[in-house]
């Protein structure tokens, strides 16, 4: 079996005096979507932030593309080829849509072909290209945040709950866009509470609870096994189906 693109091995994270991640083991294979599920407060966001070096792992190791990145500072981890779409989107409100994208393109130039592709995924970004990002609607901000991660090819994209709080129509647009991203061959680690979206996109799945990974396997298996779903995801499932 080839080495996974990203692997976490016994990762612990403390935030202040709280012990949040308590030995996370997670493997993200190269190519396709890995979906990270888990109830609120399970530690999904903390896992992504720890991968990015925004929280420092207090124990364990994180390997990316064959290198140990556990102790590296955030800019170096990003430069190694990881893009991050945070839960709160963190778009730069005072910058225009264009400036947000220019900044995300580290080479300094936006590739026109890629921009065209992004516009085809999220037409609103084309319409509001020259306007302040702070004036976009919630869904459009989310699109911009994702577009920032797509503006240049990255080896791995981390996305934290992109459909949270969005209207159903925008959610299906988002899922369509992610399908295209998937077809383009990207590797994505997607945190998603919406099981319907998770099932449509995920190739592999990991389920988190209380700061640990409690299940990892193929999404198709989990989708077929209702008893397992019920045990791992409990009521969340009923809500979203």
């Amino acid at each position: 079996m080839p080495e996974p693109l990203l692997s976490l091995d016994g990762v612990h994270t403390h935030i202040g005096r709280y012990h949040i991640l308590q030995g996370v083991d997670l493997a993200v294979p190269r190519g396709g979507f890995t979906v990270l599920l888990g109830r609120n407060g399970a530690g999904k966001t903390t896992t992504l932030r720890t991968i990015m070096g925004m929280w420092k792992a207090s124990k364990g190791s994180i390997r990316f593309a064959g290198n140990d990145v556990t102790a590296r500072p955030t800019p170096q981890i990003a430069s190694a080829g990881i893009a991050y779409v945070p839960e709160n989107m963190s778009i730069f409100a005072g910058l225009t849509v264009r400036e947000n994208l220019v900044l995300a393109a580290r080479s300094g130039e936006i590739d026109p072909k890629r921009l065209e592709w992004i516009f085809s995924l999220f037409p609103a970004l084309q319409r509001f290209f020259g306007l302040a990002a702070g004036a976009l609607s919630g869904g459009q901000k989310q699109m911009l945040s994702i577009a920032r991660a797509l503006i240049e090819p990255r080896e791995l994209i981390l996305v934290d709950e992109p459909t949270k709080g969005l209207a159903p129509a925008i959610v299906s647009n988002m899922i369509r866009a992610f399908r295209e991203v998937k077809n383009a061959g990207a590797t994505v680690l997607l945190v998603e509470q919406n099981f319907m979206a998770a099932r449509m996109l995920g190739d592999t799945v990991a389920v988190m609870d209380d700061g640990r990974i409690v299940h990892q396997g193929l999404m198709a298996e989990l989708a077929a096994d209702h008893a397992l779903q019920h045990r791992l995801l409990g009521l969340h499932l009923d809500k979203h189906q």
């Binding site: 990015m52 925004m54 500072p73 955030t74 800019p75 990003a78 430069s79 991050y84 945070p86 709160n88 989107m89 963190s90 778009i91 730069f92 409100a93 005072g94 910058l95 400036e99 220019v102 900044l103 995300a104 580290r106 300094g108 609103a124 319409r127 509001f128 306007l131 302040a132 702070g134 004036a135 976009l136 609607s137 459009q140 920032r148």
Partner: protein, 339 residues
């Protein structure tokens, strides 16, 4: 379709420039005309205030970016102003002949040399100050206040040791002395116009860098959300050091301009204006350059008008202004969105 129009309107509303603080500043100036009583006096006071405001802006602009970018409270900034003024003095002494010369060219040259040397020296000084004093206390506000105050006192003592404790009088270059007459009874001091011009150049230069260059883009983004800039792969520390050095150099420039304005240098001059600078940074909105400019002008206008109309309240007028602005807009005139 209706959905789309709604989106568009929302976007337009968000992209508008906020004119209210600008109009407020103009309104303050106009409201002072009847209170001052004489139009020519009002012109004199207003031009003096514009000059003072632009100099405060020069000194405060670096501080607001330093705070916005890394949440660093630097009381040492005050002494950078004094250092700048005294470094200018080092150029002024050997070139005394150029100061008294009637050649406009030599007069301008000596001012520019003072500025260039002072900016280079305070820039380097800022680089050392950041490394030795600020870096060990990143993220710890109380320690920043104590340590940068300590740094300020140490550097003040060094200035005393080198330049002595007495105020040093300096002369303006020949062709900057005196005033220009507009009509029968309005006279505007030349140097005030020069100070305004230098301030405008600095402001436009900053706007150009912030809005038209990649570094500027990084600074604007970093002031909003430094962590996200790092997550995009940029080293915010290096950016911060650059901004700190540039801000220190601007404090040095402000020191030279302020020194010539007062025509007297004292070691404590920087600390004296630092209070006004902090008021400006707070009422402008931490990290906002536009807010810093409007805040500087408001502070200077109110200080000058009240000093003339009712000297007794002049001392507290700026504190009053700060309270009023913060009651109206708790994040300052131009709040920077933190995402």
């Amino acid at each position: 379709m209706t959905d789309r129009t709604a989106e568009k309107e929302e976007v337009r509303a968000g992209a508008a420039i906020d004119w209210t603080p600008i109009l407020l500043t103009v309104a303050v100036a106009l409201a002072a005309i009847p209170l001052v009583g004489s139009f020519s006096t009002w012109v004199t006071l207003t031009v003096a205030a514009l000059a003072m405001g632009m100099m405060i802006f020069i000194m405060a602009s670096g501080l607001t970016l330093v705070f916005g970018l890394m949440d660093v409270i630097n009381f040492g900034h005050g002494v950078f102003i004094s250092v700048g003024a005294y470094m200018g003095l080092l150029v002024l002494w050997p070139l005394a002949g150029w100061v008294d010369s009637s050649s406009v060219f030599l007069n301008v040259a000596v001012l520019l040399l003072c500025i260039a040397f002072a900016m280079a020296a305070t820039g380097l000084f800022g680089l050392a100050f950041e490394r030795v004093i600020v870096r060990p206390v990143y993220g710890q506000h109380l320690k920043q206040i104590l340590v940068t105050m300590g740094g300020l006192i140490v550097v003040e003592q060094l200035l005393y040791a080198f330049f002595g404790g007495n105020p040093i009088t300096i002369a303006l270059p020949q062709s900057f002395r005196g005033g220009l007459a507009f009509g029968p009874d309005i006279v505007v001091e030349r140097y005030r116009l020069i100070a305004v011009a230098v301030g405008v150049v600095v402001f436009l230069g900053m706007l150009l860098v912030l809005n038209r260059t990649r570094i500027g883009l990084l600074v604007r983004a970093g002031v909003e959300n430094a962590e996200m800039v790092e997550a995009l792969g940029y080293n915010i520390r290096r950016l911060f050091i650059g901004v700190f050095v540039a801000g220190s150099a601007l404090a040095g420039l402000g020191g030279v301009m302020w020194g010539f304005y007062q025509q007297t240098l004292t070691v404590g001059m920087g600390l004296q204006v630092l209070v006004l600078i902090f008021i400006v940074v707070i009422i402008g909105g931490l990290g906002s350059i536009g807010g810093c400019l409007i805040g500087s002008l408001l502070v200077a206008l109110i200080a000058n008008y009240t000093a003339f109309i009712e000297p007794k309240i002049a001392l507290v007028s700026n504190i009053g202004l700060m309270l009023a602005v913060l009651l109206w807009r708790p994040q300052g005139l131009y709040p920077v969105t933190k995402s």
